[in-house]
Symmetry: C2
Subunit: 103 residues, 2 copies
Amino acid sequence: MDTAKIKRLESAGWQVGSASDFLDLSEEETAFIDLKLALSKRLKELRTAQQISQKELAKNIKSSQSRVAKMEACDPSVSLDLIIKTLFVLGATNQDIATAIIR
Amino acid sequence: MDTAKIKRLESAGWQVGSASDFLDLSEEETAFIDLKLALSKRLKELRTAQQISQKELAKNIKSSQSRVAKMEACDPSVSLDLIIKTLFVLGATNQDIATAIIR
DNA sequence: TGTTAATATGTCATATCTGATATATTAACA
DNA sequence: TGTTAATATATCAGATATGACATATTAACA
C-alpha cells in the first residue's frame, strides 16, 4: 500500500475522529491535514447543498470529476490552493472559510 | 516583463490598496490572491514579532531564505500550502489563521 | 435482475512548485 | 566612505500537483 493510500485512509480515520499511528506526524503536519480536511468537508457541503454533481462542478473550475472527488476525499495529491479556489467558485466568502477552519 | 513579476507587482499594489488593471482577474481569482496576501502578511508579522530572521525561519521549515522572502512577498510561485504550513511552524493556531482571513 | 447517473480510484504526461544557489539590494553602523 | 547582516530577486533541476482518461464502485430505480 502506497503512502498516498495510507494518508487517504488516515484522513478518513481522522474525519470520523479515530486515533491512528500508521504515520507519525508532527503537530504542524496534523494541524495542516486537519485544516485541509475541514475545508474539503465544507467544499462537499456547499456542492451538495447546491445540488451540483461533481462533474458539473468540475466543468465550472475547468477540472475533472475525478479531481473533485479527490478534493472531497482530501486526497494528499490535492493542494490547499485548489480546494480554496474551488470554494470561492462555489460562492464561499472569507467568513465561510474562516468559520470552516475554526469550527 | 514576465507574468510572475507583474503578479508580484499587482500583489504589492493590492496590499497598499491601489486599483490596477494590468491583469483582468475574475472575482474568484482576486479573492484567492487577497486571501493569500492576508496570510503572507500574517506570516511576516509572526516572524518579526518573534525576532527571527528569514534565514532562521527557513531552517525551521527546511527551506531557504529566498523562499521565505517570496512567501512574504506573496510571490505567485509560492503555494498556499507552504504558507499555511509555515504559519503552523510559527505557532499560529486555526483561530489565528481564521482571523487573518476575515480581518 | 439490468440500466443509468453519480462517485471513487488508479495512472500518466505535463504543468507548477520546490529548495538551493548566486547575486543584488537595503539598512544600520563604524 | 566601507563592512556586515538582512532581505530581495533571478534561475534551475528535481519534486509534486494537475487535468485527463480509464475503469470500478455505489445507489436509485425499473
